[in-house]
Every structure is written in structure tokens, then in C-alpha cells.
Amino acid sequence: MEQLDNDRLVWMFTQMLRIREFEERVKRTFEEHPGVIRGHTHLADGAEASIVGSLATLQPGDQLIATYRCHGYPITLGTDTKSIMAEIYGRKDGLCGGYGGSMHLVDPGRGFLGTSGIVGQGIPQATGAAWAAQIRRQNQVVLGFFGDGASKQGAFHESLNLASLWKLPIVYVMENNNYNVATRSEQEDANAAAGEPLSVKAKAYSMPGVTVDGGDPVAVYEAVGAAADRARGGDGPTLVESKVYRLSAHGNIIAPPGVPLHYPEHEAITVFGNREEYEAALRGDPVPRFRARLIEQGVLGPVGADEIATEVRHEMDAAVQFALEDPYPEPEAAARQDYVYA
């Protein structure tokens, strides 16, 4: 694992800001341009530090598979935000040509092999990609991202067993936001109910399990980096539980078009009436937290931080503008057989 120098720390901060600003623009679209985003959209605000800290460990040739809450990964990897926003708006020049939408971003050229919209189902796929990496013997690893809810899926348990058995070069990054849509972890997870971290699940599969503050990008970098080093060394997988707090509701469900958020606020408030929990999470918001830390450490000045923020706003202005102006695909493009069959 490489040491994080100041440039790298600033890069990490910038990526966190970019994800936050992008997600804010997605959220604002529901009010500013009703009906432009269809279906179900899941935001990563609150998970920026975890995403960026994890992806900062990537080496050339490494790959990842994530979930439907997937905007943050390609943003960090350098996929053009214009094409990501255009995809979410269902436009012709969207990253996936309007075929996938918010839940199914893919950028294989940058190692992002894709997502599954079905909870837990990307985990075995990431595990398969790790077998491919093991065969290639080029010291590559795969990061498999999923939520705490997915760890109740058979796909999780089957995959961890196999990966440990075969010593596959994979890091399982569980972004634990403590909610499965509207159900709290301790209501559906035996470990959580017993007051244990979810990383104890690793023990059943004879692999290391660590829990890390997912609001601290450096801590995530170190945990995922150590796990990736271990995987590159041929010692097999690790389960990293990265504890995050999502700052939006589970998703924005638009049905019928124009009707706003399913839950306009986080389920802590709308389901459990626990505004205090949510406000505490806001006080611990990883983005301002990391900004303050970099300023305190003299890595970045307030002016420099603001300049980055301004640049990021301009980038996302341009992304929204591009996506709004980009035409819809021709309807008959839906029947393209070369996309149905390779």
C-alpha cells in the first residue's frame, strides 16, 4: 500500500466533493426538472469517504463490481460525469446509451465491470472476476461492494466460502449504512442484534474481518489497502465492514412521473421518528469532516478547498446542462440486436 501524499489526499477530497455534488444535482433534478429522472435512484451521499478511500487503493488492472447505488464509483474512476448524468436522464449519450439508467452504470475500460440491481447478486460476480485475476497472475485484485442487507443473502455466504477456499484476490467491502431500506440492521441481522460488528461474519469463512469508520477516507484506504495487499500476496479475501450513514432516503421512487420522493427524508426520521440520529449523522458528515482535517493538517487552505468546490460545481453544472440538452435515444434503438446478443 502506497503512502498517501498531499496530492493524493487532495485528490481524495476532490473526488468526495464530486460525488457529493453529483448526488445533490441528482436530488435537485427531482424538483428542478420533474419527470426527467424515471424509476428508482439511489444516492451515495454519506458514503463518499468509503467509496473514495476504497478506490484509492486500486492499481492498474484491478476491477470492481458494485450495487445499484453506484454513481460514486465511476465518478471516482474518472468516467465523464456528463455521460453519467445523461444516463440517469435516459439520454442518447448516456454512459450506457439509456439502456441501463441509474442502477446499472458500467465502465469496463476503467475496471468497473458493473452492478447488480438485485441485492447481493453482484457479490458472486465480483468473486468470479477475482478468479479471473488469480488465473492471470498479474497481482490484480477485485473489490466487491455491497450493503449490509446483502450479507443476509445466500450469494454473500456462498461467495465468501468459495473465495476463502480458493484464496481468491478479492476484498469484500460491505458498506454498512445500518438500514435495509427501512429496516434497521439489528432487526434482521443476528450479529447486529447481539451487539457485534457485522465483520464477524468473516470468521465463519476463515478470513479476516475488519470494521472501519467509513466516514474517514484515510482509515478506509488503510483497511482496504491492507486487505488488497494481502489478496495480492495470494493470501485470499478479507471482509471489510465500512460503517457509513447514508444522508438521503434509501431511494427516490418516482411513480407516477412527477410525484416526488417516496421518503423525502431518511428512514430514521420517516419510519422511526428519530431525528436526533439523523442530525448526529449530519454533524459527522464525512465531507466537511475531511475538509476540516486537511485544513488543520495544512494539506489544503480554505481558499484552495473553496476553489476545488467551485470547480466541482462548474463540472456538475455542465453535466446537468449536457444531460438536459442531450437528445433521447431513437425509440427503435431499443430493438438493437447487437446489444441483446454479442
Partner: protein
């Protein structure tokens, strides 16, 4: 050069030979090569040949990931029903990822499984369940009915850049037949005309191809010439060959080991009804398994399945003759 080998050996030969031609082909699954003495392990090593735990979701999900990462896995699933354990990966992941990515990725995987083991395996290991897979664009379905096709269709399945359900009929595994040596591929989407005839078209799949041919012999003795067509793959489906035969014969009997509703014959019947109606001189007849779970007890199992007599009876019926007594 061809020589006579069993159907099951032809399947294995295709995998073995294709692994020799292409380093990215992998073979794994439950009970695949637990011993290092296995010839696949000897030839290709443990990187490419592995025995997996009983974890269908992981096995099939990993195949999808391997495909995304540039490999061509053949997953041994033993029984088609075992795919149902991981139905999401088979029908909702593998065939959809390319389309949803706007053509950016491909998933070249083969799900190798047996089906139709109507030999006393009762309700959960006997299903001819491929009809259920026909509604998932992107997923190809191969149903070899001869040893030669068993080899040729497997070769094609492995080379195909899409997910393929390659389904072995368990009633055919020990049937012997001529199988070409060396590189042998049978293209997908090209039906085989197993027998020519001008009076009636019989379309049959898998194990029922043999039953249809036997029925055709019986009918020939009565002066009825049946054309027997084996689609070989249900997706892609060679509708053109079926339509052109129906144009010639004007009569169609569809035979399938699967159920009637939601099955392969229903799909073919709809295509012919829409595109070949003008050629039909009689209603299309379907000789399928009954819409029940396959029962255990032998006489009941036989009652549920299509057979030579039922096929011949249906042919006589569409030709306007009195049906045979049940």
C-alpha cells in the same frame, strides 16, 4: 473422420477439445474433477478445472463475473432444476448485463445441465423446463438430440459470446452415434431435418426427436410421409425452416417433453399460426407432457409423457383420420 461414441462422451469431448484450443475456457462445478487424476485436470490444471461446493448462486454468479472479466466458463450444473436455485443469475443477470450496458460488456458463459430425466426421478429432477428460459432475450438455449449435435452444439456454445443454457437430455446420455473427430461445430439457429416427408411436419426436441422418428416409421407403413424437424436450439429458433416445411406439408404436429403451457411448442405454434396460417390445412396439434408435475410411479410417469403412439395419433388426426383409441 467420425466414430461411434455415446452422447455424454461427445459433450465431454467438445469441452476438452475447446479447452485445448482456447486458454480462456474454464470448466467447473459440483463433482467436476474432485481427483487430480481427472484428465481435464491433468491436461489443463487446477487454474481452469475446479470442483465447487454446492452453491449454485455462487457458481453461476461467478461464471457471470468470469465472463465479464474475459473468460469462457462452462459451469457443470448436473440438473437443470439446480439452475432454479440461482434463477436470478441465469435469467436476470447473465442475459441482461450486455443490453443494460449499451453493448459495453459480454457474458460468454455456458450453463451445462441435464434435464428430462423421466426415469423414476419424480417431480424435482425430471423437468423439461427450458420453456421458462425462452422469455429472456439474451439467453440462448441448445437442446442436442444426437451425439454429433451434443459435440457440435457444445463447441458452438463455448465459442458464443452470450450466455447459453446447454441442456443435456438425461434419457439420451448413453445413446451412441457417429461423432466427427476434431474441431466440430454445429451452428445455432439451424434446424436439422431428421426425416423428409410431404404429408405432415413434426417438430420435435431432444429425446422426443427419436420418438417422432419412430412414429414416422409406423406412419410410413400406413402410407403417411412425415417430415421430422429438430430445431436443435430454441433460441435462436429456426422458424424459417419450420415455416417452409409447413408450406410444403400443410400440417404441423409439435412434440416436446416439456409442459404445454409456457412451453417451446406453444411458442412455435404461435409463430406458425401467425406467419404460416395460409399454409395450414388443419389445426396445429401439440403432443407435450401434461400440465402436471412428473409423477414417480412408472405407469403415471409414462401417461404424462409424449410417446410414439400419441405422436402417431396426432398425425392421423391432423390428416383427418380417426384418432387411435387411447
Amino acid at each position: 473422420m467420425a466414430r461411434e461414441i455415446p452422447y455424454i462422451a461427445a459433450v465431454e469431448e467438445a469441452i476438452f477439445e475447446e479447452m485445448g484450443r482456447d486458454d480462456t475456457v474454464l470448466f467447473y462445478g459440483q463433482d467436476v474433477a474432485p481427483s487430480d487424476d481427472n484428465r481435464f485436470v491433468q491436461a489443463y490444471g487446477r487454474d481452469r478445472v475446479r470442483v465447487s461446493p454446492i452453491s449454485e448462486t455462487a457458481e453461476i454468479g461467478m461464471a457471470v463475473g468470469l465472463g465479464l472479466a474475459g473468460y469462457r466458463p462452462v459451469v457443470e450444473l448436473l440438473m437443470a432444476e439446480f439452475m432454479l436455485v440461482a434463477m436470478n443469475q441465469v435469467v436476470n443477470e447473465a442475459p441482461r448485463l450486455r443490453y443494460m450496458s449499451g453493448g459495453q460488456v459480454k457474458v460468454p458463459v455456458v450453463f451445462k445441465a441435464g434435464y428430462g430425466f423421466t426415469a423414476g426421478w419424480s417431480g424435482q429432477h425430471t423437468g423439461s423446463i427450458y420453456g421458462a428460459f425462452m422469455g429472456f432475450p439474451g439467453l440462448k438455449i441448445a437442446l442436442p438430440s444426437t451425439p454429433a449435435d451434443a459435440k457440435g452444439l457444445m463447441t458452438t456454445a463455448i465459442r458464443d459470446d452470450n450466455p447459453v443454457c446447454y441442456l443435456i437430455n438425461y434419457l439420451l446420455v448413453l445413446e451412441h452415434g457417429d461423432v466427427p473427430e476434431g474441431d466440430y461445430a454445429v451452428p445455432f439457429g439451424e434446424a436439422a431435418i431428421r426425416r423428409s416427408g410431404g404429408d405432415v411436419t413434426i417438430v420435435a426436441t431432444g429425446w422426443t426427436v427419436g420418438r417422432a422418428l419412430a412414429a414416422a416409421e409406423t406412419l410410413a407403413a400406413e402410407g403417411i410421409q412425415a417430415e421430422v424437424i429438430d430445431p436443435r436450439t430454441l433460441n435462436p429458433l429456426d422458424t424459417a425452416s419450420i415455416l417452409s416445411s409447413v408450406e410444403k406439408t400443410g400440417r404441423l404436429v409439435l412434440v416436446d417433453q416439456g409442459t404445454r403451457h409456457g412451453g417451446a411448442s406453444a411458442v412455435i405454434a404461435a409463430e406458425v399460426a401467425e406467419h404460416g396460417f395460409g399454409s395450414l390445412k388443419a389445426p396445429i396439434a401439440q403432443v407435450t407432457a401434461l400440465d402436471v408435475t412428473v409423477p414417480y410411479s412408472e405407469p403415471m410417469e409414462a401417461y404424462v409423457l409424449p410417446n410414439e403412439e400419441k405422436i402417431a395419433g396426432s398425425v392421423r388426426q391432423v390428416l383427418g383420420e380417426a384418432p387411435v383409441a387411447a
